[in-house]
Symmetry: C2
Subunit: 466 residues, 2 copies
């Protein structure tokens, strides 16, 4: 969708009156050179401008900026009164799918609240308020509660044999915020960034709204093609590589140890930050995954996003960014301007539960429960479809390839009618082309509903088979 970014760029110039009504737009060749994009991309942007009444074509002469008033009406007659935003055509694809209320929820990579020790958690919360009676009236330091950061330092030292300083940790409100803060700090419009193909759809939408050019890196069961990664770093000089190397979302793949070290070396050599998003580290079924890339990093080129609350207490939305102090300074400033710090209440509740023995027991049970659900989903699909997938060794999702010409978008609409939702592969693809793929989440609904839901889904799918 690069052409939409070029479109936004031009609309911005027009709205700021840098390019005025009646003025000739730069030639396609010239603008393509200036922005470092293909001519066809600029051509498509100009076509969209024309369609939306923002530009007009004069035969043999080129494109011209149209009168502003006219274009405003042409764009969206229903919203005449609404002031124009910078959002343009960007949206949050995943969030729109998840906003549809359904009984058979296969689109949320969330753990079933019934798998959490709710009663115990509630009792625990009460204790927390006895320990900190003024919790409701207190703000957290912008960078995060000190007690919590101390705990996470100890945890990382024990778990990953990595020594952190207190101010190498920033507490954020969920992984989405962590991704967004990093994007805000590093992406200027039209900057190149590397993203896996496929990847987490929410991250793609965050990067798009910041105007990034998304350069895809293929991910397979063996990890990346490092020669491709190096070539892309060389060619595009990307600001960062956003990656999800452990029980990758949506595929479930894990980038092998051997590649992890080499990736950090590439990052240093090409001065390309690695944004390592690690949401499912503790959600393994057989063996624990290899150490995170950040443990190989000595020069500060890895920013490590570690979600904790997903499997502890998702409602608290506690996540951490771990990075070197030179990066932390600006990151804390951006966090302060975004929300002035994550609420202290949430951090203290998380802190006290996270260090309890109960948490470790819960985690073991949770892994078994998730594995059971994965197995049920696989068994049902195996029996009822010829769809293909690789068994995930951790994480919350199954990434399925349907027959090549399968109309996935039509299936999704039909599923919504039957109170079922899933994630279509196209929104996980930076190029929006992976049409016959879908992501099914097995962690959110119970075994019985899961079985029912998959049966219904596969029944519906039959009517679309060629």
């Amino acid at each position: 969708m690069l052409f939409k970014q070029v479109y936004q760029y031009i609309v911005g110039k027009i709205e700021r009156n840098e390019w005025q009504a009646g003025e000739k737009l730069p030639s396609i060749r010239l603008l393509a050179e200036e922005l470092g994009v293909h001519r066809l991309t600029v051509f498509k942007a100009y076509q969209l401008l024309k369609e939306n009444g923002k530009a007009l074509v004069k035969e043999k002469s080129g494109y011209y900026v149209k009168d502003a008033q006219q274009s405003c009406h042409a764009l969206d007659p229903d919203l005449e009164a609404a002031p124009p935003t910078v959002l343009g055509e960007f949206k949050n694809n995943l969030s729109e799918i998840q906003a549809v209320p359904v009984a058979y929820q296969f689109s949320q990579a969330l753990i079933d609240p019934n798998l959490l020790p709710n009663l115990f958690l509630s009792e625990y919360v009460k204790k927390v308020f006895d320990i900190y009676p003024k919790l409701m009236g207190s703000y957290s330091p912008v960078q995060g509660d000190i007690e919590l950061r101390e705990l996470l330092c100890r945890y990382i030292a024990h778990k990953h044999k990595a020594q952190l300083k207190l101010n190498e940790i920033l507490i954020t409100s969920g992984a989405t915020q962590a991704i967004d803060l990093i994007a805000r700090l590093y992406i200027r419009p039209l900057d190149a960034i590397l993203v896996e193909r496929p990847t987490y759809s929410g991250a793609l939408d965050v990067f798009r709204i910041h105007g990034a050019r998304l350069i895809p890196v293929e991910i397979s069961i063996d990890g990346y093609d490092l020669e491709q990664v190096e070539a892309l770093m060389k060619q595009h000089r990307p600001r960062f590589f956003y990656m999800n190397p452990t029980f990758h979302n949506p595929t479930g793949y894990t980038v092998p140890s051997a590649q992890r070290k080499l990736l950090v070396e590439l990052a240093e050599r090409y001065r390309c930050i690695l944004v390592e998003d690690d949401a499912f580290h503790e959600m393994y079924f057989d063996t624990p995954p290899p150490p995170p890339l950040f443990t190989y990093d000595t020069e500060g080129w890895v920013l490590y996003i570690r979600s904790f609350s997903k499997y502890v207490a998702p409602g608290l939305r506690i996540c951490a960014i771990i990075c070197r102090q030179s990066v932390m300074g600006p990151l804390v400033t951006v966090k302060s301007l975004a929300d002035n710090g994550t609420p202290l209440v949430n951090q203290k509740i998380f802190l006290h539960y996270f260090q309890s023995d109960r948490m470790q027991q819960h985690l073991k049970k949770l892994r078994i429960a998730l594995q059971v659900r994965r197995d049920i989903m696989e068994a049902e699909l195996h029996e009822r479809t010829n769809w293909e997938w690789v068994r995930p060794k951790g994480g919350l999702n199954l990434w399925l390839k349907l027959p090549d010409t399968f109309p996935v978008e039509t299936l999704l609409q039909a599923c919504f009618q039957h109170s079922i939702s899933f994630v279509p592969g196209t929104i996980c693809d930076p190029l929006q082309q992976m049409k016959p793929w879908i992501r099914l989440n097995y962690s959110f609904i119970n075994e019985e509903k899961l079985r029912e839901g998959i049966r219904k889904l596969t029944d519906i799918s039959r009517q679309f088979e060629a």
Copy 2:
């Protein structure tokens, strides 16, 4: 600091290789015209480029882009290894002052946790977890918990006689996030926005990081000069006017009723959104303030930011943006990309306390307690200084004019040494010129400490008097 924004704009072009090493920069005249700024502003930006080794001057010829490698080192030799961010020289001035740990805290517009009914709140929280046993495992809808939005609809209908629909309310994590979301939605680099002079420093820093050109509107005890407002709207076509018309931060002034209606008319006529930040509405001492501007708005030009948790339970960070549905759509998208929704835990706790009778009783007591602290601060200052101020009729701050040549910055550094902090007026001024002014907050520390702190502060100040 407009020149820094122009500087950032040029640095961006250079970093993206749009303007390459060795290339001649546009003439000062040309760039000033293109960006719609004064030539002196561009001159200052070019000077800064030169100082930072990003540009060089050739006699009689103009400015040229310097070799990238060279400039990178020249800019910041200490952070050589740190990847460059888009933050540039922007920071959060207020947050940096508040991060200094002090005993006599006059820089935080926060209510003393001891004034909140903490024990009662803690008991309440326990009930909330009994009502919603799965709270810890549940996400909120991105736009906010439905029960909470229903409650706020009823509250606004009762309090302000304004009928809202459920989807005209968005729950945010504090007012800072609300301001930031609106800035993200409307500000493109170099867009003009109107801001009061002085105003809330945190908002200025948010707007700066989005690249806004800040156009000041003077605020006085009588409100604004509406002719000035109209002229500025006409001349600059600002994206919005960020205002704090009720117990204004930092001055305490309230824009009179008569002006409120006229401002909404101006907004409609010049298609300039009013961002009405209303953090202190319930914090009045004599009579309740006039109705918010948004109650006069029928066409959707007012975005109303209402902080609730400040006087209820600041640790929860619950705030709301109220606006028409046409604006709400994109706002919810931006919220989803920023953090996927405010944690449900915080919303449910707030909900249940906010609708309790106890809250109303607490509010009455709180007003009296704050008034007592204001009176003590005024009495101490009256006795010990010739500083000038207007008695605030609500809010949490005193805005003081010190003698004209008073070295406020030196005073602040000396105060830090004695464990005292306050807000220097310059950071509240979009032009950063209001040198002899300071903001003292009277809500955070108790009567005894407040007295002590003011005595110490005025003692220290004596050594700087001419």
